[in-house]
Amino acid sequence: MIQVKDPFIPLTQSQLSLWTGQRMHPDAPLHNVVYTFDISGDLNPLIFKQAFQVLVDSTDILRMVFNEKDGTPYQHVRPKGAYDVETIDFTSESDGQVIQQWILERTQAPLQLSERPFDSVLLKLNETRYIWFLKLHHLITDAVSNALLYQRMESLYKRLSNEKSDEDIASPSFADYVDYEGQQREDPKNKASQKYWKANTSNAPDTPKLYGKKEDGKSTATQRVPSKLGIERTARLRELANRPVIRSWTEDLSLFTLFATVYAIYLHRVSGENRLAIGVPAHNRIEKRFQKTVGLFVEVLPIFVDIEEDDSFFTVLKRVKSETNTYLRHARAGTAPVDVKRSFNAILNYIQADFPDFWGFPTQTEWVHNGHMDSSHAIRCHIHAFNGKNDLEITFDLNESVFSGATPDHVPHHFLNLLDALLDDIDQPIGKANVVSRQESESLLGELNQSSEASVSVLKSFEQQTAQRPNAIALQDGSEILTYAVLNKRANQLAHYLQSQGIDAFSKVALQLYRSSEYIISILAVLKTGAAFIPIASDQPSDRVKYMCKNSGCSLLITEKGLNKIGKEGLKKGLDSTTVPTLVVSEVQHKISEEGTSNLEIALAPDSLAYILYTSGSTGKPKGVMILHRALSNYVQWAGQAYGVDENSVFPLFTSIGFDLTLTSTFLPLISGGRILVYKEQNQGPDISLVHVIEDNSVNVIKLTPSHLVLLSGRDLSSSYIKTMIVGGEDLKTGLATAVTSAFSKDLRIFNEYGPTEATVGCIVSEFDAGQHTGTSVPIGQSIDNLQALVLDSHKNLVPRGVVGELYLSGAGLAFGYVDDVALTAAKFVVHPFTKDAKMYRTGDLVRINTAGDFEFLGRIDDQVKLRGHRIELSDIEANLAAHPDIENCAVVVVENKKRIPENEVVNCIECGLPSNYPEIEFNQDGVCQLCTAFSNYEEKVKRYFKNDDELVRVLTSKRVQNSKYDCISLLSGGKDSTYVLARLVNMGLNVLAFTMDNGYISDQAKANVDRIVTKLGVDHVYGETPHMNEIFVDSLHRHHNVCNGCFKTIYTLSTQIALEKEIPFIVTGLSRGQFFETRLTEELFWDDTLDTVKIDNTILEARKLYHREQDAVKDLLDVSAFEDDAVFEKVQFIDFYRYSDVSLEELLAYLKDKIGWIRPTDTGRSTNCLINQVGIYVHKKEEGYSNYAFPYSWDVRLGHKTRNESLEEINEHIDETEVQRIMKEIGYETEEEPSESQKLVAYYTGDPNTSVKYLRQFLTNKLPAYMVPTLFKHMDEIPLTKNGKVDKNALQNLSSAQLSMDTPYTAPRNEIEELLEGVWKEVLQLKKVGVHDDFIALGGHSLAAIRVTARINERIEVDFPLNMVFERPTIAEYAIFIEETLTELLKI
């Protein structure tokens, strides 16, 4: 029965995707699928033609044509009609090339999709050899379909040759599949699979760069690189595939799994990525009825493979196997999302298509490459066995926008090297296998630019210059001008003097000097004695200088008067003159002047130590890098030539002498006959010498950092004499180099010099070329003479050209190691894997070699972070963000949320029970916390702070006036403590008004308690309430992570109002003594030698005033106008009952039971009478890790009001989470951003402050995968730099979330007072960094913290600053000015 179908058939998703791809590249034959079948036999062309006619008539897809209607493509089946296979006679053609050329041209000729999407030609080569050329558009075929067509054609030919009649030979209809696919899309059975693909596609990592390059998304041009596995390898592979531990359901699936394993590892090795998505075509013919249908069924879906560093081939295989199962489970028609192809750029196509001999004639099948492929694919790997199963073929299609030069030829080798490693030993670590072949290795190792190593020391070169041009100016320092002869003479005199002081070739001499002629003289003098020098910048703190001297074992420190003696602190901790003798040259100048002036002629052996340079170490202690004369000479002699330095060169000496790039400006002029112009640093404040250098315009060569260059932006420098610029120390951005080029005159040469201190100043160098260097950063270029630069992976394998790896350096420039740190030396200077007895230095820098053969610096390896499984290059994000026109400079860091101690590892102080996850708490070896230890020192004083009952009565009756009804308000929560207070007050004969805050969550039983108690005691009682309570709770939860703070403040506010109204002079609280230490008292208050309770009370009162004026929901929502006037604090005083009354928990409970009839509520938690309290505890535990009661209860224990066990029981009480969730919903509390996110990306930038963050985020979202888009963006006035002018990522990383959300930029402390204040702020607010413009309140500072901060400042400066000053001058910068002003005033008196 024939059904009439809708003639307009929609396209399947696969077809649609191909259609769109073809529309984007209308002229590219990228979807022309072409096979040639080379048939050796006397084929009958007439029968062949007939057979093909039947094939077309019986196969609807061959009559399918494609059109568009209203922008929507559709297909429809044309009626049957005559099709004549074209035959071409090549019998007279002897040249095979001609036929190949014809095939290629015909392959690439476009198909008219609206006419006939196929082409079939029979080529006659001779009477017994024919080639059937079959070309189909991919829209109507796939690999299985090609085989089906071929097999049908063969059987039709057979049938017609045997003159059999036409039986039912209709091929099943493709149109049915289109229907089926549409239904599947809607079928609820496929929901789970649709969800799987959608989730995995949207979470897919960014497609990898292969060999450092990424497909441009536009080019379709492709190179095909075929290769054969060979019979032996194929056999070994099959043997492996059939091993029980490896084999899958079918041999083909086993082979596929093995290839996918190697492919994933290959992609990992040539991209450096650890999570790979491989697009794998699914044949989609799982429905029986479509198994013989011809058409496009195949859909490409991804398999995801994670690679771990320590994987073996087998562990990857196991993962691939499991992923393949998942893939097979979900790979069904109608399940893939439209954008699935965005998730992969690498295809693995394991083709199971059989092309047997044609009617018994030997037949060779060839899949002809059309020269193109989908522009979103970078690489396709096809595995097939068209011509016999014993020799698998592997064909790579390589996108030419990714693969160029020699790389395409390397691809099969790299793949097969890994395949062979797997075949050799499937259990070996993947990192052990080599990817690059030997020939490639040789080229990567490079021929060491072995120019004969400089045998002349820098000193010798200088002395030679002196001999040649004694009267030339060598150095100018202000008005002091030294000729070579004079400089040499003075250096000789000092050297002779040093010698007389015992300095010899084994000595080390530290030089902490300002930049000056003296510094240069000293270096030369030290070298002349054969000793090594240790340059130390003038601004190094004395502790550090002391450390360097001690660590290096130096025998002398040459310094200047005034250095090392700055400040009181400096004196105390200053240099111990007994350990390192100090020489101040000016003090012994008269002696030195009498010394001899001749050269000392001490030969400096290449392997002797030239200098030790201290760089910052990750441990916080500087590490000393030991550089030999050989290394120094190698760099200096090379640089002199490469940078064209000669007797006309004038260098400024203006950068820190502790920075190794300064050695360029120190030695290059002196060995070349040129001149040094000294720019001395200021005693304090930022070094602005660069500005002077530029303004003076007296130098023609300059060595500086990119950060220096940034400072020059906006200046017109066209008249500058600077012609050579050597930039080092940091990544040089192309944009900056370009800007500099245009600011200076045209003939400026900019050299980008890369080099860690450990490889002596500079070792890889390029000259900036605006035409060539178009990337974000200027490449660092090529290695200098006698230096080898290697790019290795984490297993120390050479990586192929283009692939990112870690840079290792070897050769003459290598440091000897670190002073007195064998372990670090061994870790950084490792055995050279390719050269015997050689070492190489592990730089920690990521580099790649670009197509021009230049090294590109890509950031620090530490900058490579793993975030939620994605490996992220921070510099990548930075480069993209920097491309935004509103951004000047930026830095991206990963900020770690506070590390939590896992709950089961928390221990409690054995005395007070304070948990170990309380912030900054430390336990001594006996398990006692430092609060307890410290408390033992002031316990006596605390005791004296407390008073007795009599005093309480006296105080509370002190303001009794005629007619006043009440002596005091007693705050009654209904809990045990406040009930006891009320009862005792009544018992003392006082007139009391009980006040209970109805916060909406007092339990029924607690309320019953309250009502019973006030009745029984016969006191007046009022309830306080506010409609804003829930908002106050929510605010308190956000601000303090508890509910109590908000509730307490509401109670104080409302009860004060009543007190004012009714003229009641006192409000009595039931705060426990422990709670005093949470809210009022701090350790600092007891620091004074003599206890002055009046002073403490005044401080508490001051803090109380601040407390009521703090910004929060209570201030916003309640009437707090009464607190604006200080008078209120006179009129209504707060009295803490338990300051006067000392009662243990046991006594208290007995009293309540016997006298009052208080019943512990069973409908609330143990520590409370309030239902919402557990929400506070829950949130506090979740946000901070510990209960908000842990701290006050530890004080209750410390003060003897609770036992440790009682406290622990209460703080570890069970929380009913369902109830908590319900209440949170009820009050409208929503958790802030995912607290589980332990790490987040934060971008800091300078530039237009008005640019909206939303816009920046959008900008990056368009360029980067979502997981690389920073969570926070923070504008800064400037990016903080380390002393060496590099971005201070450490500072950026240590800002708290409060600091990040502030609008103020981070500025590090700039002077001693600011440093002192930062120290105090950090201690009290528990922060790692505080910027001088950060606001105290925004940092979480409150009145109690103000007490602590002020007490600490007062202690250190020995002045009494008032408490409110922290709020009046809420930043370190402002407070520091206040301190300075005050101190100045004091000095005047």
């Binding site: 899958s248 359901w249 083909d252 699914a282 799982i286 196997k321 199962n325 489970r329 790979a331």
Partner: protein, 86 residues
């Protein structure tokens, strides 16, 4: 109908171009090309749905799925499957 008959019927109806007489309990479903790996996964999903069980990756091995007999044996040794109920 027991599970093996059900599986057989399913293979014939939805997976393979073969008649019920052509499959014996000991025929190699995978090696003989009756079912390819995608088809086998389809069969696994069928069995999972039919018996309301989950077949873990580790169990998806040739030994358990090569023949109808293997499938039967595999299901028998699974304690959570009651084949008699059918």
């Amino acid at each position: 109908m027991n599970i093996i008959e059900k599986i057989k019927a399913y293979i014939v109806q939805s997976i393979s171009d073969i008649t019920p007489d052509e499959i014996d309990a000991d025929d190699d479903l995978l090696g003989s090309g009756i079912i390819d790996s995608m088809g086998m996964m389809k069969l696994v999903i069928f069995i999972e749905e039919e018996l309301d069980i989950k077949i873990p990756d580790a169990d998806m091995i040739v030994e358990n799925f090569m023949t109808l007999q293997n499938i039967n044996d595999y299901l028998l040794q699974r304690k959570d499957v009651d084949l008699k109920q059918d």
